[in-house]
Amino acid sequence: MEPSLARYIWTHTKRQQVWILLIVVLSMIPYFLSFDLPKLIVNGPIQGRGFEQPGATRPFMKLHYDLPFIGEVQFFSGFQLDRTATLFALSVVFLLLVIINGLFKLYINTYKGRLGERMLRRIRFDLVDRVLRFPPVYFKRVKSAEVATMVKDEVEPLGGFIGDAFVQPVLLGGQALTAMLFIMVQNLWLGMIAVVIVVIQIVLIPRMRRRLIVLGRERQLTARALSGRVGEIVDGIGAVHVHDTSNYERADIAARLGHIFKIRFDLYQWKFMVKFLNNILAQLTPFLFYMIGGYLVIQGRLDVGQLVAVISAYKDLPGPMKELIDWDQARQDVQVKYQQVVEQFTVVDLIAPRIGALTIDDPDPMTNPLSAISLSIADDGGAMLLDRISFQVKPGETVALVSTATGGAEALAEAFARLNWPHSGRVASGADDLLELPEAVTGRRISYASSDVFLFQASLRDNLLYGLKHAPLTSVPYDGAAADQHRWNIHEARRSGNPDLDIHSDWISYASAGATGPHDLFEAVRRVLDAVVLSRDILDLGLRSSADLTRHTELARRIVELRAALRTRLEHEGLSGLVVPFEPGAYNKEATIGQNLLFGAAAGPELADRALAANPYFASVLRQDGLDRTLYEMGMEIARQAIELFADLPPDHQFFQQLAFMSAEEIPAYETLLQRLKNRPYEAVSENDRAMIVTLSFAYIEPRHRFGLLSDELMSKIVAARNRFYENLPPELQNAVERYDPAKYIAAATVMDNVLFGRVGNNHPDAPDRIRSIVYDILDELGLYAEVLDVGLDFNVGSGGRRLTGGQRQKLDVARALLKRPDFLILNRPLSALDQRMQDKVLRNVLEEARRDGHSQAIVWVVTNPAMAMMFDRVIVFDSGQLVEDGTHETLLAGNGIFKELVS
């Protein structure tokens, strides 16, 4: 990247800079004119010079100046106006000039701001673009948080500066010069005083600021290191807790913050010191004006109007001067920042832009063998992982790489995936060096999965399809405001040197997955998920999440059928007791009292959980039947029993897990509440206290808690209250609850709850498992399996995929590699988190999937267990960075080499 900031800015914005300079110069004219006016107004109409005779008139708008070296210049001879009219006319002109100056300022500032923002966008994009082109080895040494902070924070001040880079010195310099010139014109000696002070400022202040720059650089580096450390703590939080090193981390952070504080405080001290000096110098000038100028007036060698004009012109001098000096500091500051960042982003062996160039059309298949030619790979310390290896993988061949601990097969797999660059020798496809091929070829015709999986924080589906998103394949039609916005987006992207690729386009290459479009892609997805034995897990995720009904309409449409199928099946197997269904006219004993009252899924916060008891409308419904009082008394009884049972237990006791309606922390609060309310009549209990107590009843399930509090009468009252609740539901609560309706899908509930449409009995310990396997069967029978799998694909995998288990992540990575249907599938110990049985199963499936539809992918698999090599055409054995054996499984077993040793 361009090392000099000024040149970087000039290269990309010269036309805009010149334009804004012109505007600035133009703005000087009204600015200069506005200086002369106060003097004219005071001396002329106010003091009456030139209007000595009554009825005298003076020319108005006669512009002429005595300029040094040029002589008298006359711009306009003017209109004749009398004294009062002159005063008004001059004042109006003054007002006009103020407005014109303001408008110029507005335009200039807006233009500069936009210029700066565009350049900031350009720099940030350039930086990220470079990150995308860094050689792999770079990422072993850099902390991601540091790169992020450079892109985000460290270049931020550049944006503010870029607009000012050339404009500010011209504008402020122009203003300062104008003011200075004006003072000089009025009085040479007073002007000379101002000049001397200004020169002192210009020389002294930047000298003092040098230290500020040094400190600023230190501040930047320490802040960057801090964000790197914070990032490390977040990523390595497990290690911190496992080793009880949180206090070590605290000490480290505190020490860093202390260091940063010291630097920042030094900075402040210097900054204010410099400011103080600067202000003193600026104030010195008016002091001299008043003293010397006043003396000259008293002596009669200077008129008052002139002195006023000089002083008022001087008011405009320190401002621009100070800003000019500030600008200079900002310039040095951002130059340092820019250099620091550019240094970090200047890397040798950057991947050439043509390698990653956008390619819309899919490249031809790789029909040449993939070969390692005298390939050596070294680790970061210089030790050889592979030493002059030569061998070839032919298209369609399946090869197992078996490696001893120091074999180096993993490095070879990485080299095939371009993740590890050769130390010497090369990897080639036919005659082409692999590193010289565009990523459009290698990234689409070669797939790679390893044990070290990275997933993006997005849905499972997005992660799975990530490997298909090479180029925007459709152009999205926009209309109306969206079209304007789109045009604007493209225009601005181009202005900032950003690509104008549309992120909303369909990037998925369906053909790669063997599909023709979105409608049949799912088939391919399901196949690869089945191959890696991940479908069941995703189906479970689907059952446990709530479906997006705009996408999964089929599920909502057939929910009644699904529920009926489950009932029939349970009856058929004599398991009807496992699930107690929700029936609009009946009390469900396995659900809580709250659920029985609400008889719906809370879709908003108004009626959810604890808010239910406090909801005024809900309370009013309960009151009608005296139910509020019954539930209150019941709550009191529950509180009594719970406290009797749990009061002496320490808060961390395991038993508290069992106490669903109260947490250990709440016990003391309920204890005092119980004391307070013990003998108080119901009417005297406050609304809040009632809600606290009634909440307990709401969580009560008779078969589970077994306090014996539920009578038939109470149950029928609750069912009646449920109906009353829905009869007069006020409009503001219409959207807060979805009533359980046997004929309707409940959007706010999970898919499983929707299918069950009831509660699983509390006293059947294996009920959840049995029901789940029945639900699987039914989904399959009704053809809804795919639909629920699709719901599961909406699951967000979390940061780095951490919401999935290690095994699931690895399976997903293999599925992603398979989905692309590459010519060469490179798998680098891909399933290390799984047990051997599962690895074998996935291996068999993957080999089969790779041969489906007459396809013949070459597979290079670094196996974790030599026994797995049996299933491959060819086995290659590595030891100490050397290729030691190469042959079929049988020949190697027949020989007496390392492989035989490894297998036995």
């Binding site: 006791h653 038993f655 077994r706 014996g708 006293n763 059947h764």
Partner: protein, 149 residues
């Protein structure tokens, strides 16, 4: 059956007879009430031991796998406890327990059970007594078996 009835049942289990009723109530409350139909398995030989069961009503058969299929070695009557050995020894189940008729039981989870033993020495002593008693019987059986040879 309500909590207070369960407490009454638990008091009749020798193991818990020395524990005061409020604690038994806590034990009952924190345990799961489970019901099984005839023929259903409470747990299988070889499974991980995660809970002990107190039979509240109904009977269950204790079965041990042998070469000629499962052999019934004992029958569990109401108020008996089963499955505590696997919890104490951290071992797998030594036998299969199968409901002989509709059965109601309290399922006491492993961590709850161990916590109870820590907190109530009376219970632990009773437990040791029962185990020692069983060992006595087993030794006597063994001697009988040896001398019969």
């Amino acid at each position: 059956m309500l909590l207070k009835d369960e407490v009454g049942m638990l008091q009749r289990v020798p193991l818990f007879s020395g524990i005061e009723p409020t604690k038994l109530k806590l034990l009952a409350f924190t345990s799961d009430r489970v019901s099984y139909s005839a023929g259903q398995i409470l747990f299988r030989q070889g499974d991980e031991g995660d809970a002990a069961y107190v039979i509240l009503s109904g009977t269950a058969d204790i079965l041990v796998d042998s070469d000629s299929g499962p052999i019934k070695v004992a029958e569990l009557a109401p108020n008996s406890i089963v499955g505590e050995i696997a919890i104490l020894c951290n071992s797998t189940r030594t036998a299969t327990v199968k409901a002989a008729c509709p059965l109601e039981a309290l399922r006491i989870r492993k961590d709850h059970f161990l916590r109870l033993m820590k907190e109530f020495p009376e219970m632990t002593i009773e437990m040791v007594r029962v185990l020692a008693d069983r060992l006595n019987h087993t030794t006597a059986d063994l001697i009988d078996a040896r001398s019969a040879k």
